[in-house]
């Protein structure tokens, strides 16, 4: 930073300036991702490695959460539907809720906590221990190796994890419905697939891709720009989770408006 830059008076206030500078930096980070993603060398091995870490290693947590969400949501919805004699609609209700909103949202929030924080902390610690500088001085592009590979991996894996969560949540729901309403698996799933449309699945996949990209890029951005030693690493991990979750909710809200608009056409 030159002296001139440092002496400049803040445009609004220091806080506002910091916020908008951060926003501009984040935007240029996203632009850099899109400009470097197609430039060789392609780090396929690292992308696969990250896909494994993000996808396979998240399975136990995702399985448990998805199952509980399906089971609990079914049990909580039953009394209300039963009041109107509509307990037989449970599979339809659950499938719509899970596929349209809960599956993507629950998976993304869990991934933001687990994957986003781990990416932020890992890259942050590499930054403060000069490992990123070491890559750079060995004529390797650290952005390509660390950021592009991780963002691609989250973008590919979150939609897959969402599909898996949907399935597990529906299985949880089936167990409850089967135990209480004596509905067979084939009847349950026939009702499930009759209720959901192509638009539901398409919008679910599209927003999962967006959620995955958000988790990856926010984690990488916070890690890549961390400072102040170990304290900075903690802050990077923490803010990666908080910002990812906030953006996921905003994206969920926006995608809901878009899908509803399409549905109304």
């Amino acid at each position: 930073m030159s002296e001139k830059e440092d002496d400049r008076k803040p445009f609004l206030s220091k806080k506002f300036d910091k916020f908008f500078t951060g926003l501009a930096n984040a935007w240029s980070f996203v632009r850099r991702f899109f400009s470097e993603v197609f430039i060789p060398p392609y780090e396929f091995k690292e992308v696969i490695h990250q896909c494994y870490r993000i996808g396979v290693e998240s399975l136990p947590l995702i399985s448990l959460t998805g199952f509980i969400v399906g089971l609990v949501f079914t049990n909580q919805s039953r009394p209300s539907l039963s009041e109107f004699g509509a307990a037989s609609w449970l599979p339809s209700l659950i499938s719509i809720a899970v596929v349209r909103a809960m599956g993507p949202l629950v998976t993304a929030l869990i991934a933001a906590g687990k994957v986003g924080s781990s990416i932020g902390a890992e890259i942050g610690s590499m930054k403060v221990t000069e490992q990123i500088d070491a890559m750079e001085v060995s004529a390797t592009n650290p952005f390509n190796f660390l950021v592009v590979s991780r963002v691609l991996a989250t973008t590919f894996m979150i939609p897959l994890l969402v599909m898996y969560t949907d399935f597990v949540a529906l299985m949880g729901s089936f167990l409850s419905v089967n135990a209480n309403e004596m509905v067979s698996m084939s009847t349950f799933f026939v009702q499930v697939f009759e209720s959901i449309t192509f638009l539901d699945i398409f919008s679910s996949v599209m927003k999962s891709i967006l959620f995955g990209f958000t988790i990856g890029i926010v984690g990488c951005y916070k890690g890549y720009n961390s400072s102040k030693g170990t304290e900075g690493v903690g802050q990077a991990a923490n803010s990666a989770v908080v910002i990812s979750m906030f953006l996921i909710f905003i994206e969920e809200l926006l995608s809901l408006q878009i899908v509803n608009a399409i549905r109304g056409m």
């Binding site: 930073m1 890992e122 590499m126 490992q131 500088d133 070491a134 890559m135 001085v137 060995s138 004529a139």
Partner: protein, 250 residues
């Protein structure tokens, strides 16, 4: 006089209000080990980071192997970086990779058409030359500070650099390991025919490894020459006190 591999003139660098380098002039000659001495925070590391393009100077000239670093594009800068080995203060080994993967990392990305056997042979040779042939499959967390430094040096040597930059090579190490690292620096120079800049505040390291010293104080070199020239005939009181603190007080 040997040819200059690094030529620095009027180099200035500030971070906000903090003026770190204030018109630094320095030459490194081929085959020479130059030690840059100075207090912590005096800008020694900044100097070598500008040399490899990790930082950019505010003013002045930084020519490495005949090229002005600040004017190079990414491709040319990367080509230059291949000729410079940078040993970091904390070794900067990639902690999620084994020693083998750490050493492979720069090699497979910068040298094409190497077979698996050739890569392994090169790694084994270098690990042997730093005295750690058995550590090939270990993780960095399983190594001691001195071993990490050695592996860090071996990793930089894998691309056959012409210039070696050592950032505080003996910081945080016990006296015996320090002496081993000093010997390694001399061995690297002789065996790999490199020119080196050693950044340190450790006078024992400076005396053992350096052909020439340069003392950085207040953003400028206050004394330059052999160890005896710098410390025996020092005019600047702070240069003298630097010697006193290292050899008398400790």
């Amino acid at each position: 006089m040997e040819e200059k591999v690094v030529e620095i003139k009027g180099l200035k660098k500030s971070f906000g209000d903090l003026k770190v380098l204030q018109g630094v002039d320095l030459d490194l000659h081929k085959g020479e080990n130059l030690v840059v001495l100075g207090k912590s925070g005096s800008g020694k590391s900044v100097l070598i980071k500008i040399m490899v393009g990790l930082l950019r100077q505010d003013a002045g000239m930084m020519q490495v192997l005949g090229q002005e670093v600040s004017t190079l594009n990414t491709k040319a800068l990367n080509a230059l970086r291949l000729k410079i080995g940078f040993s970091f203060q904390n070794s900067a080994l990639y902690d999620s990779m084994t020693v083998r993967e750490n050493m492979e990392f720069p090699l497979v990305r910068n040298v094409k058409n190497l077979t698996r056997g050739e890569i392994t042979k090169k790694i084994e040779e270098l690990l042997d030359s730093v005295g750690l042939p058995q550590s090939i499959n270990q993780m960095p967390s399983e190594l001691s500070g001195g071993q990490k430094k050695r592996i860090g040096v071996a990793r930089t040597l894998i691309l056959n650099p012409e210039i070696m930059l050592y950032d505080e090579p003996t910081a945080g190490l016990d006296p015996i390991t320090c002496s081993e690292i000093n010997n390694l620096i001399i061995e690297v120079k002789e065996r790999f025919n490199t020119s080196s800049i050693v950044i340190t505040h450790d006078l024992t390291c400076a005396k053992d490894t350096g052909d020439r010293m340069a003392v950085l104080l207040d953003g400028q070199f206050k004394a330059m020459g052999t160890f005896e020239e710098v410390f025996t005939h020092a005019d600047d009181q702070r240069v003298k006190s630097f010697y006193d603190y290292n050899f008398i007080h400790s």
